[in-house]
């Protein structure tokens, strides 16, 4: 019974770790470069959830000051994750530009075919 109560209290974190593992698996195991970038984006967004979840206080409100309210959720993780979201999209945009140039140079974006072509030369 104690194990079940522990699991219910930590269910958010377990679900977030499942998302993180799925993103990691896509980056390692798939050969298509656009799908690898999508897996990287999944990994990054799961880290955002993992970071913001401990800051939530049950019974608190979003951190916008108001004279009638006394309990606010923690604003500091929100600030750091706002920066992280914008940096994440900058990474994805630059990665997609590099994938486009690779496609123009080799004619394909599958990792196996690019390795085979490199070994022939």
């Amino acid at each position: 019974m104690d194990g079940l109560k522990n699991f219910i209290e930590h269910y958010n974190y377990v679900a977030t770790i499942v998302l993180m593992v799925a993103g990691l698996y896509i980056v390692i195991a798939r050969g298509n470069m656009i799908k690898k970038l999508i897996g990287l984006s999944l990994f990054q967004t799961s880290v955002y959830l993992l970071y913001i979840a401990p800051g939530k206080i049950i019974g608190g409100t979003p951190p916008v000051l108001d004279p009638k309210i006394t309990v606010y959720s923690n604003p500091l993780p929100h600030v750091l994750i706002l920066t992280a979201i914008v940096v994440g999209i900058a990474t994805i945009a630059l990665g997609l530009a590099i994938v486009t140039r690779i496609n123009e140079a080799y004619g394909t974006i599958e990792e196996d075919e690019i390795f085979a072509r490199e070994e022939q030369e």
Partner: protein
């Protein structure tokens, strides 16, 4: 997509509201959720949806490519310039309390200036990214 009537009329109705909403989110960043990043992305979204429906030449007639490429570093210049003003008055870098008579008003004014710089850089970068990707394929 230019010949599809519903898309054309719908987009013409919704783009002014998108731009107005972007301005609202930017200026109300002090009293509610909002700020520079959200407003910049919504403003870029308005230009991108116009380019998607009416074609990239029409969009570049309204928002030229040279203008967007010149706006990208302007936002960073506004931000760093606000920081350097603090240095010129003898205080620390990015100290906004020198901008007005008392410290609290000066800091509020500094926050407004800095968020404007962030809006300019983020919106013009997103539009420039879209232009670069769509011109590569023609």
């Amino acid at each position: 997509m230019r010949r599809d009537l519903i898309l054309r009329i719908g987009v013409k109705l919704i783009i002014p509201f998108m731009m107005l909403f972007a301005l609202y989110v930017q200026l109300h960043g002090d009293y509610g959720p909002g700020g520079g990043f959200q407003a910049g992305v919504i403003m870029a979204g308005a230009v991108i949806v116009y380019a998607l429906i009416f074609g990239i030449e029409e969009a570049q007639r309204v928002v030229p490519r040279r203008l967007v490429e010149m706006l990208v570093p302007l936002g960073v210049l506004i931000y760093a310039g606000t920081g350097v003003i603090g240095l010129l008055h003898g205080q620390n870098f990015l100290d906004y309390s020198v901008l007005a008579a008392d410290a609290a008003h000066g800091r509020e004014r500094g926050i407004l200036l800095v968020e404007a710089g962030v809006l300019v850089t983020v919106s013009s970068t997103m539009i420039a990214l879209f232009y670069a990707f769509s011109e590569r394929g023609r």
